[in-house]
Symmetry: C2
Subunit: 339 residues, 2 copies
């Protein structure tokens, strides 16, 4: 993509916003066509679904942030539908990623493959082949693989069903219209420089308020053991402490998308990118930890399996804590060097 | 205790060393008398055993570090016996501390007690009383309590048996002799300033070499997940990565005791104290993690118990990692500010 500052001095707010939404609608329709053409090519289908989802999220973000410049009823309705669509399409990929994360963690927790075997021990038959999991770890891995593969299959069916539904066709039609025409509010006729900044600033303020509400002082102290504080409590307690971080993750993304409207195709702000990546990792680790805890509730599992799942759960909760630490580091460094 | 620099200019090495050993032998005999008088007063017995052990470790450390100034056969023999004695006496206290650490961790992992119950929820009967453990956590706690209480009882019997043995009486006799007379090597007749520094420097060099061999660069990076890398591997792998840290812990103590010979009753070096405390925590957490893993190998435990023990094991291994981080911070800060 080519980087070009939008000429906010001469264009109206409606022209700038419509230009952005037109481009993203084009991305959406292109992603949809590529998805349809991908056939049995899983990698191509995944890439197409990813670009479709990215476009849907950006359009939804634009409709949310710049709602005052748009027909609000239309914007709210389309945003809801785009949220449903990108949420539905995200599930399959999320199951795959979660399984990779958990299986990778189990391999890591079972230790690195042993180094070269000393000559003296070569004759011994007790040495395990490199990377062999212990009984508990391999049973836990097999259980998670069964459960997450099943979930992925269900998510795949749900995605296919969604893409064949009349609800989806209505969304696709609405986006196709958006590619040529955006229902604007009267205020959008004002110059961009006068009315486009307000909604973007409001999103940024929400983000800064939400970040100010995070326990960053605690997160700055490594090994604070906060993320595991509910490690053996009920699941809902654990989720409660994650919620403000998930909220910041979403506001950060909205803010980043709002910036794209001003500077289409420009390099994204590295601080927002790094902070967003830390919070993506936070979300992924939290969900992986929940999947491990959930698998441990499977009836009739062996104690060794349950033990491995307990270790895995705690490991992923520490990843959650590590992600909070990483976010805090990025954010504080940015605040310290801010002009 | 009063702080006084030892006058190494005028005294012989033998006089300085004998003075130190005399004092520690006095501490040992006083601890022994207090232990005998403590009767059923558990706190007094524990305090007496602690001071007895501290004196035994210091005498043993002196015999080790300053061996070149002593009759080596006598020094080696007494040191072995003191090691046996302090090791035997340490077990009971270690079991108590380990149980407290693990039960405390289980309570922490079950979340803080809920805050004031909102008025609306007061009528509900579903709310748990503050600090209630989940089923898995309380079963795991009960299992650990049974196992560690049994271990403590055994350690107590072993300590009583040791204190009644002829082997112990031989040690006590040797220490009583030490309170008045130390079998010195001929070189100890030289001025302290000439020959006392060498052995102490050698201990310090061993310490610095051992610290240089630690993976401090890795430990400096928070959340490196190193301590749990063998979390699901065999127990011996986990112990292998801890061994160099345990080794530094012992050398640090030897170095601290060697410094006491020079500066009896002086305030201990705060860096050595803080570094030693970090490594004590490292050792305690490593042993607690091992106790949790060990409890999980109990036959016929429920999966929820095993799960809680897995979370607990991982939590304590993270404490191990946190202690390495703390040690690294103390050590690096000291190196940065060293003259």
């Amino acid at each position: 993509m080519q980087h070009h500052e939008v000429d906010t001095d001469r264009l109206t707010a409606g022209e700038v916003l419509a230009g952005y939404l037109h481009s993203r609608a084009g991305d959406f329709l292109r992603g949809l066509r590529l998805y349809g053409e991908s056939g049995s090519d899983t990698a191509a289908a995944e890439a197409a679904a990813r670009s479709l989802r990215g476009a849907a999220r950006r359009i939804g973000g634009g409709l949310h942030t710049f709602r005052p410049l748009l027909d609000p009823v239309w914007a709210d309705q389309l945003r809801t539908e785009l949220g449903w669509l990108s949420g539905t399409l995200a599930q399959e990929q999320a199951c795959t990623a979660r399984l990779h994360r958990l299986v990778g963690a189990l391999a890591r927790l079972s230790g690195p493959p042993p180094g070269p075997v000393p000559a003296r021990a070569e004759a011994g038959s007790g040495a395990q082949p490199p990377g062999t999991l212990t009984v508990g770890a391999s049973r836990a891995g097999a259980l998670l693989e069964r459960q997450l593969t099943l979930a992925r299959t269900r998510a795949h069916s749900a995605a296919l069903q969604a893409l064949g539904s009349s609800r989806f066709h209505a969304v696709a039609d609405a986006v196709a219209v958006l590619a040529s025409e955006v229902p604007l509010a009267p205020v959008a006729a004002a110059p961009a420089i006068e009315v486009l900044a307000g909604p973007g600033d409001s999103t940024e303020r929400q983000l800064l308020d939400a970040v100010a509400g995070l326990p960053l002082a605690r997160a700055a102290h490594p090994y604070n053991a906060e993320a595991l504080v509910h490690g053996l409590a009920t699941a809902s307690d654990g989720e409660a402490q994650d919620a403000p971080w998930h909220q910041v993750r979403q506001l950060l993304r909205l803010h980043r998308y709002a910036q794209e409207v001003w500077c289409a195709g420009g390099a994204p702000d590295p601080v927002l990118m790094a902070a967003g990546q830390a919070l993506d990792r936070h979300r992924d680790a939290a969900e992986a930890a929940a999947a491990a805890a959930n698998a441990a509730r499977t009836p009739r599992i062996a104690p060794t399996t349950a033990y491995a799942l307990g270790v895995l759960h705690a490991d992923q909760r520490h990843e959650v804590e590590a992600a909070r630490f990483a976010f805090q580091q990025v954010w504080q460094r940015a605040a310290a060097t801010a002009p």
